[in-house]
Amino acid sequence: MSLYNFLYLSSIIFTLGVIGVLVRRNVLIVLMSIELMLNAVNLNLIVFSKLWGNVVGQVFTVFVITVAAAETAVGLAIVVAIYRHKDTVNIDEVNILKW
C-alpha cells in the first residue's frame, strides 16, 4: 500500500463531504458531511504522521476530533432553536434574510 492510495482515499472522502454540504438541504446531513470533511483531514494527518515518523500529526488529529465534537454540540443547539421556530430542519425553508 503506497502513500498515494491513502491520499486518494482522503481526497475522495473530502470531496464527498464538500458535495454533501453544497447539495443536501437537511441540516443534520450537512453536519454529517462537515464531519466527513474533518475525517478526511484526520486520515491525511495520520498518513503524513506515519510518513514522517513523528507524532505531531496524530496530536493534531486528537485536537481536530475534540474541536469537531464541541462544534457539533453548538451546531445541534442552534438546529434545535431553529426547529422550535419553524418545525423544520431544512435550511431552504429558513429564509427570512435575503440579499
Binding site: F14, G17, V18, V21, V27, V30, L31, I34, M37, L38, A40, V41, N44, L45, V47, F48, L51, W52, N54, V56, G57, V59, F60, F63, V64, V67, A70, E71, V74, G75, A77, I78, V79, A81, I82, H85, K86, I91, V94, N95, I96, L97, W99
Partner: protein, 513 residues
C-alpha cells in the same frame, strides 16, 4: 530524580510562559466568574449589572497586564520572544493586535448595557462569551503553530456562533447563527485540509521550521501541492474575513446578530483573520509569489466591487454596513499584495482606523433603537439632524471616515493601503497591481454614493412622527461613541502617534520568518 522532572516541567511550562499569557488569563478568570455569578445572584436585574461591571473589570485587568507586557525585553528587536516551545510568539504583531482586540472588546461591552436593557433579555453567557472570544483572538494573534492557530480560531468562532444566535426568541437571529455556523464549519474544514498538506510537506506544524523547510529549495516540495494548500487556506480564511465569493453568511449574520455583537464581529474576528493571513502568507508561500499575487489580486478586486455594488441597493442599515465591511476587507486584502514591512504597517493602520469608525457607526445604530422604532431601516434616519443634531453629525463623521474623506481616519487608512500597492507596482512592474489600485479608486467613489444616501436622508428628509421620540443615551454608550468619534477625527488630523504604533507591527516583519 524529582529535581529533574521538576526542571523538565519548568522548561515546558515556565513562569515566564504564564507571564506571557497573563492578559488572556485575566479574561478567562473574569469570564468564568461571570458564569459562576449566575448561580449565586438570582435577581435578573442585579445580575445584569454585576456581569456588566465584571466584564469591564476583566478588560481593565487584561489591559493592565498588557501594559506590563509592553515593557518585556526582546519584543521589539524583530525576532520576538517564543513561549511554550515555540507554539506562541510575542512580537510587535502580537502586541499590536492585543491592543486592537482589547479596544474592540471595551467599546462593545460599553455599548451592550443599553442594548440588553432595551431588548430585556439577559443571560450571563453574553458577557462571558464576549470575554472568551477576545481571549481566543489574542491567542490567535500570537500563534506560531498550525495547531495553535486552528484551536484558537475554532474557540473564537464557536463563541461567536453562540453570540450571533443570542436573541433566540427571534427567528432572524437564529437564522443568522445557523448560516454562520454551517459556512464557518465548512470553511474550517477547507482550512484544515490545506494545513494537513502543509504538514505533509514539512513534517512539522511549527511555522518557523516550516518556513525553513518550504522555502529551502528542496526538490521534495511539490509546487502544485503548495499552490493547492495555499488555495485551500485562502478559501478557509476568506470565509472568516468575509471576502467575496465566501461572503454569503456575512450580511445575514450581521443583520440577525444583536447589534453590539455585529459591531464587534465586523472588527475583531476580521482583524484576527488578517493576523492569520499575515502569519501564513507572508512567510510560508514565499516561493510561489506569482500564484499568490494573482489569486489575491483577483480576490481583492471582486471583494471590493461586489461588496460596494450590492451595498448600493440596501435599505437596512445593518445590511448596508455589512456590505460596506465586505468592501473594506477588500481594501485590507489589497495591502496584503505586497509582502514587505510597509505592507504590514498599512494593514495595521487600516485595521486601527477601521476599528474606530466602524464601531462608531454601529454605535449610532444601537443608540437609535427606541421604544417604537427599531432604528435599522434607512427611513428611520429621515430628518435626524432636526430631532437629534448631535447624533446626526457624529454619524456623518463616521460615514465620511468610512468613505475615506480627508480630515478623518478613513483617509489615512486608504492612503497607506494605496501607497503600498503603488510602491510595489513601481518596484516589481507587475501590471496587475496597478489594476487593483485603479479598481480600488473606482470603488471608493461607489462607496461615497451609498454612504451619502444615509447622510442625505439625515439632512434633507422630513422627520416622521415616531422618530421625534427622544433617544436616551446612557453614560456608557455615550462614552463609547465619544471614544470612537474622538479617535476617528484625531487620527485624521494628527496621525503621527498612531503611525508610530503601527510601526510596531511593521518593525516585526523579520519575526515572521
Amino acid at each position: 530524580m524529582l529535581g529533574d522532572s521538576l526542571k523538565l516541567v519548568n522548561n515546558i511550562l515556565g513562569i515566564k510562559d504564564i507571564a506571557a499569557f497573563s492578559p488572556q488569563i485575566q479574561l478567562l478568570i473574569w469570564g468564568i466568574a461571570i458564569l459562576l455569578l449566575s448561580v449565586f445572584v438570582k435577581d435578573k436585574k442585579s445580575r445584569m449589572n454585576i456581569s456588566f461591571y465584571f466584564s469591564l473589570l476583566g478588560v481593565f485587568f487584561s489591559g493592565w497586564s498588557y501594559i506590563k507586557l509592553l515593557r518585556l525585553e526582546g519584543i521589539y528587536d524583530g525576532e520576538g520572544i517564543k513561549f511554550f516551545n515555540g507554539i506562541f510568539k510575542l512580537d510587535g504583531i502580537t502586541i499590536f493586535f492585543y491592543g486592537i482586540f482589547l479596544l474592540a472588546g471595551l467599546l462593545t461591552i460599553l455599548l451592550s448595557k443599553r442594548f440588553l436593557e432595551e431588548e430585556s433579555t439577559f443571560e450571563s453567557e453574553y458577557y462571558s462569551l464576549l470575554l472568551l472570544s477576545i481571549m481566543a483572538m489574542m491567542c490567535m494573534a500570537g500563534s506560531n503553530d498550525l495547531i495553535g492557530i486552528y484551536i484558537s480560531l475554532e474557540f473564537m468562532s464557536i463563541s461567536i456562533y453562540v453570540l450571533v444566535g443570542y436573541l433566540r426568541k427571534q427567528l432572524r437571529s437564529t437564522e443568522g447563527a445557523i448560516k454562520y455556523f454551517i459556512l464557518g464549519a465548512f470553511s474550517s474544514g477547507l482550512l484544515l485540509f490545506g494545513m494537513s498538506f502543509i504538514y505533509g510537506m514539512g513534517g512539522t506544524t511549527n511555522l518557523t521550521q516550516l518556513f525553513r523547510i518550504l522555502t529551502g529549495g528542496k526538490s521534495a516540495i511539490s509546487e502544485p501541492l503548495l499552490v493547492l494548500s495555499m488555495l485551500l487556506i485562502l478559501a478557509g480564511m476568506g470565509f472568516k474575513v468575509a471576502a467575496v465569493p465566501f461572503h454569503m453568511w456575512c450580511p445575514d449574520a450581521y443583520e440577525g446578530a444583536p447589534t453590539p455583537i455585529t459591531a464587534f464581529m465586523s472588527v475583531a474576528p476580521k482583524a484576527a483573520g488578517f493576523v492569520i493571513f499575515i502569519r501564513l502568507f507572508f512567510s510560508l508561500f514565499k516561493t510561489i509569489t506569482y500564484e499568490y499575487v494573482s489569486v489575491l489580486a483577483l480576490l481583492s478586486i471582486i471583494t471590493m466591487t461586489v461588496g460596494n455594488v450590492i451595498a448600493v441597493k440596501q435599505t437596512n442599515i445593518k445590511r448596508l454596513l455589512a456590505y460596506s465591511s465586505i468592501s473594506h476587507a477588500g481594501f485590507i486584502l489589497m495591502g496584503l499584495l505586497a509582502r514587505n514591512e510597509f505592507a504590514l504597517k498599512s494593514i495595521g493602520m487600516y485595521i486601527l482606523c477601521y476599528l474606530f469608525m466602524n464601531i462608531g457607526a454601529f454605535a449610532i445604530v444601537i443608540v437609535m433603537r427606541r421604544k417604537n422604532i427599531i432604528g435599522e431601516e434607512l427611513d428611520d434616519y429621515k430628518g435626524l439632524i432636526h430631532t437629534h443634531p448631535v447624533m446626526a453629525s457624529f454619524m456623518t463623521v463616521f460615514l465620511l471616515s468610512l468613505a475615506g474623506i480627508p480630515p478623518t481616519a478613513g483617509f489615512v487608512a486608504k492612503y497607506f493601503v494605496f501607497s503600498t500597492v503603488i510602491k510595489e507596482f513601481l518596484k516589481s512592474g507587475d501590471r496587475l497591481l496597478l489594476y487593483v489600485a485603479v479598481v480600488g479608486a473606482i470603488n471608493a467613489v461607489i462607496a461615497l454614493y451609498y454612504y451619502f444616501r444615509i447622510v442625505k436622508r439625515m439632512f434633507m428628509g422630513e422627520p416622521t412622527k415616531e422618530s421625534e421620540e427622544k433617544v436616551a443615551v446612557n453614560f456608557y454608550s455615550g462614552l463609547s461613541i465619544g471614544i470612537a468619534f474622538f479617535f476617528t477625527l484625531f487620527i485624521g488630523v494628527y496621525a503621527e502617534p498612531f503611525i508610530r504604533f503601527a510601526d510596531l507591527i511593521g518593525n516585526s516583519f523579520r519575526s515572521l520568518f
